[in-house]
Symmetry: C2
Subunit: 375 residues, 2 copies
């Protein structure tokens, strides 16, 4: 096995690049989209479906798994891969993002962040050392450092202080788990809110620490699309070119295309699975809502360009029926399709980059989602 | 293709028999358990799962499909098999049972039964001719006649009148669809409440009509187990030996074993799928509730004797976690297992009958479910 953390770039096209990242549970080809398995299961989707749609890595949420079933229980099962029967790579977030979403339920200090469980109100403390310990218990292939994700609209003074805290927490995470101690990789998370110089400073401070990869955190938190793109194109090139770059929690198909264009390698988002459960489905012809009356007698496949089980097997009419009848099967079939769409998108991006035609590939998505194109 | 309706008995053991029933969409081996796909989908289970668990025939509910998406819409899709992508046999009930469950919302007359939709309160009339027409639109392989299912506790006077009505409705169904008009089979339903002589009379009247098979209706409607068994063992032998016998809406594993012992060939019940969604799972060691704390760290399979995807892949600990975390995946995995259990039960029964050891097979289930054994 190649040493976990080895990152090879096979081709570039502008800032976009394609390659592969070696982990303790196998290789991840990049660019990659990571389906989100919040509590250890990608909602409505079992490992057999993940295999069928060609998922290469999934994400687990440290906050949720820590609370239930508990990271120590998972460790006693042999780690998350043994527990959830997904034997390929897993990335876990640090729990920071979830904790900072618990507005009113948490208190930040130098030591860490104190919060109350959304399940039972019990009090907990996440320190940098603690979140590394939790992720080690989960035996995550890619662990993320604890960071402070500042909300959109935070002022410069607050954001500047926060950048310092995020750097100190990142160092404590690295110290708690020295590089090479085991096969688990550790990624740093750069922050800096919506100030370019603070983004630059955070990247400078984080990249002084020897992480296996670097993430852009705190984007796609409610800001206008143009502002996100501005910061993305500012920040991504500042991240080390020889390490994987991860744009956290992003995003729409066009957001991902833009991220790839900016040189990002990894993406995760609940959008395909959450929208699947809302009946919003992505197709080569654009988004559609399967609930709409117009599909009641539509015998065609959901997406004629898609090879997933749902599109190979069922008509739009049947998918609409399942959705309107509130059948559980709708969740699985819609999720299989949307995840396939997002994975096809990154598979297509790899091929386009390798062929030197990524700009054309990007334009094809801009044509599908014109309302999202930032002038 | 052998003529639909051809029923071959390959072996008998006491009253129990094993054989196969030919339908327009293939062969069903008997005894058989039919998973219930109320609105065209077996809840949380797609055709790929049905194939994997070895389902041979599923049931669709005429009442539900008539209301939504509508039988005419399904007919325009090419029938239910084309609509739901299950290309093997489908049996549809007549809708009678559902309508008679809508207490207060329905009115019975000679013409048929008037009822209000549980979806929008709209008024509808099911006549014998109408339910045949609906089932023809669905292109059901096995259609059921309209019958009156009398509630447990109905008195002799009411039940006697009802038997007459059920017979007249059955004749009208047969007249509306003369035998051999197409590949859809039509089964009669015998009633008679909880009076043996009325059961005998109903069977006598129904078997005078040329149906492709006969059902025992109106059992398992709230009566004590001993009373159901008494009527089952009274009635089943009165049904023609050369036609398939169907015990509607039954039941627990031991109910099915008893039905087979009485000479019944076909069963359907929501129990395996409904219980799966409640976390009640059937195993070779008895029923268990996966929610229980004792399974939190149980790394063993749900049922060591089971070959289903769930048992091959996941631990009890993970299944408990999915259930307690209210993950959608729990519904699919639990349903796959429970349906496999019920199908394994009938597969095992066939082998036991063929080997002349059905009594022993029956005793093995009585040992698992001693609380259900009727003295």
């Amino acid at each position: 096995m190649t040493t976990p953390g080895t990152f090879e770039i096979h081709a570039t096209d502008g800032a976009a690049r394609t390659g592969c990242l070696h982990t303790a549970h196998g290789i991840v080809r990049t660019p990659i989209f990571m389906p989100v398995g919040t509590v250890g299961s990608v909602k409505a989707i079992a490992p057999d479906d993940l295999e069928a749609i060609g998922a290469e890595i999934i994400l687990g949420n440290t906050y949720h798994l820590y609370l239930r079933p508990g990271d120590e229980l998972v460790a006693r099962r042999g780690g998350l891969h043994e527990f959830n029967a997904w034997r390929k790579p897993i990335l876990t977030d640090s729990g920071g993002f979830q904790v900072f979403s618990l507005s009113g339920l948490r208190r930040i200090a130098e030591e860490g962040v104190e919060f109350r469980s959304h399940l039972d109100g019990s009090k907990h403390l996440f320190t940098p050392e603690k979140v590394v310990s939790i992720q080690r218990n989960l035996n995550s292939d890619i662990m993320m450092v604890l960071d402070e994700c500042v909300p959109y609209g935070a002022d410069r003074t607050y954001t500047e202080k926060s950048v310092g805290l995020t750097t100190r927490w990142a160092k404590r995470c690295r110290d708690a788990y020295p590089k090479g101690a085991a096969g688990n990789l550790l990624f740093g998370i750069t922050q800096g809110g919506f100030f370019k110089d603070l983004r630059t400073r955070s990247i400078g401070e984080l990249t002084d620490i020897d992480f296996d990869g670097f993430a852009l955190g705190g984007l796609s938190v409610g800001e206008p699309k143009a502002e996100m793109m501005d910061l993305l194109y500012h920040s991504a090139p500042l991240l080390p070119a020889d390490k994987p770059r991860y744009l956290m929690g992003v995003g729409t198909p066009l957001d991902i295309i833009n991220g790839i264009a900016a040189g990002v390698d990894m993406f995760d988002c609940v959008l395909p699975t959450r929208n699947a459960r809302n009946g919003t489905l992505y197709t080569s012809l654009g988004k559609l809502n399967i609930k709409r009356r117009e599909f009641a007698e539509d015998d065609g496949p959901l997406d004629p360009a898609c090879s997933c089980y749902t599109c190979r097997t069922f008509s739009r009419a049947y998918l609409r029926h399942l959705y309107t009848a509130k059948e559980l099967l709708a969740f699985r079939l819609n999720s299989i399709h949307n995840l396939t769409y997002f994975l096809d998108l990154v598979r297509g991006a790899r091929a386009a980059i390798a062929a030197g035609r990524f700009a054309e590939y990007k334009r094809s998505f801009e044509a599908i989602y014109p309302e999202e194109v930032v002038a």
